[in-house]
């Protein structure tokens, strides 16, 4: 690795119906491609999690959204690890047979992939996941018993010496809903995504260790019209394997007083790639105040219309991820992307 590793942050916000990445880990090909042209890729579970499917990349940093916001704000750094011991929290609301499916998925990750897991903890009350679709079109959610979740995590950290936390919460089965039908057809907004995000955000905020979430759901009836973008979530009984793989090598969070060689901080980020209509998150607002090149992708449409231009954020807008990859290659090489176009404006005198 060179002295100044080229570092890219890739964000596809969850729960806003992103055309690429709004479904079952379907921005993973984008992440794989960026990881080929960057030395380091920082991205979040919504991009990398494909239920039974995953692609482990040695130069990818799996950083949950709350941690990513803290990193972008300069509050936390990222420390690479060789392996995390992952603690598993199971919602008491999960039925016995479904619980056993998840335990077998975790055992499979230990036996087949060699991952390190602690013993598991069942929450002392059902978490009570509630889903909400906001007027903006984004999905959000809450849990009724956050204290129960935090007590379970505390036990895993203190007794089990867990270094990262996988949470499996029982989500409402809503087989007949229009939202679910649209999601399975690769349209609309993931109805579960917003609630999933707040579960992991709560754990990361409280314990400052990596966390990701997998929903527990009953298997759906076979659908011959299933979209390829949603298909990864219908291959098995759990969404857990990708979460365990991601957490097994997720970087630990560090604060300034304890920083050491090899830690990654926001001033080392070269570029951010994000959908053009989803520019209202904390990470992009923070990075807009740094020298990071912000590349917005028009083709990845979302339910929102929060553009960088309207918020006063300077970006380089491209049509597609294919074009974004070209910009990253040029930027990394120190070549102005404008020089690769047929027409180049002449220089003008700077007036103030």
């Amino acid at each position: 690795m060179n002295a100044n590793p080229y570092t890219v942050v890739l964000i596809v916000p969850t729960g806003i119906g992103a055309a690429v990445g709004g479904y079952a880990g379907d921005a993973l090909p984008v992440a794989r491609a960026i990881a080929q042209v960057a030395d380091r890729l920082i991205t979040h579970p919504n991009v990398l999690n494909g239920a039974q499917l995953y692609w482990s990349m040695p130069n990818a940093f799996y950083v949950e959204g709350y941690g990513l916001d803290q990193f972008a704000a300069g509050h936390w750094g990222l420390r690479p690890v060789t392996q995390n011991r992952v603690g598993l929290v199971l919602d008491q609301g999960i039925e016995p047979e479904l619980r056993l499916r998840h335990l077998q998925a975790a055992d499979a990750a230990r036996a087949t992939l060699g991952l390190s897991l602690t013993d598991y903890v069942v929450t002392d009350a059902p978490l009570g996941v509630g889903l909400k679709a906001a007027s903006s079109g984004a999905t959000w959610g809450t849990i009724q018993n956050p204290g129960s979740l935090l007590r379970a995590v505390e036990k895993l950290v203190k007794v089990g010496r867990a270094e990262a936390i996988a949470v499996v919460a029982r989500f409402p089965d809503d087989v007949g809903s229009e939202a679910l039908q649209q999601y399975r057809q690769g349209q609309g907004v993931d109805p579960l995504a917003g609630a999933e995000a707040v579960i992991s955000h709560l754990v990361v905020k409280t314990f400052e260790i990596p966390c990701a979430h997998a929903p527990a759901l009953l298997p759906l009836p076979l659908d011959p019209a299933l979209s390829p973008r949603s298909a990864a979530e219908e291959l098995g009984y759990t969404f857990l394997p990708c979460v365990l793989v991601g957490l097994s090598r997720a970087p630990q969070f560090v604060t300034a007083p304890s920083t050491r060689l090899g830690d990654l901080w926001v001033n080392q980020v070269n570029a951010l790639v994000i959908p053009a209509t989803a520019c209202g998150g904390s990470t992009i607002l923070s990075l807009s105040q740094t020298s990071t090149l912000i590349i917005t992708v028009r083709e990845n449409q979302t339910r929102l219309n929060v553009t960088a231009d309207a918020l006063g954020i300077a970006t380089l807008e491209v049509n597609s991820y294919l074009e974004a990859l070209g910009v990253l290659v040029a930027h990394r090489a120190g070549i102005s992307p404008a020089a690769l176009r047929p027409a180049i404006d002449s220089m003008r005198e700077l007036n103030h």
Partner: protein, 61 residues
């Protein structure tokens, strides 16, 4: 750990658009802190005249 009283809730509000993204972020964080501990938030809409933005969030109280 005494966490039994924690409540997680969804909130939505509007703030005036600021002249820089940094000022806007600080204003939103201040508004969020007044309502609880923010877990997750985003600007989800911009008024047609670009005078105000809508923020949606989940906070702990």
């Amino acid at each position: 750990m005494t966490v039994t009283q924690l409540v997680m809730q969804f909130v939505s509000f509007e703030v005036e658009l600021q002249s820089t993204p940094g000022e806007l972020q600080q204003l939103i964080l201040a508004q969020l802190q007044a309502q609880g501990q923010p877990l997750r938030w985003a600007i989800t809409a911009i008024a047609p005249d670009q005078s105000r933005v809508t923020v949606e969030a989940v906070v702990m109280t």
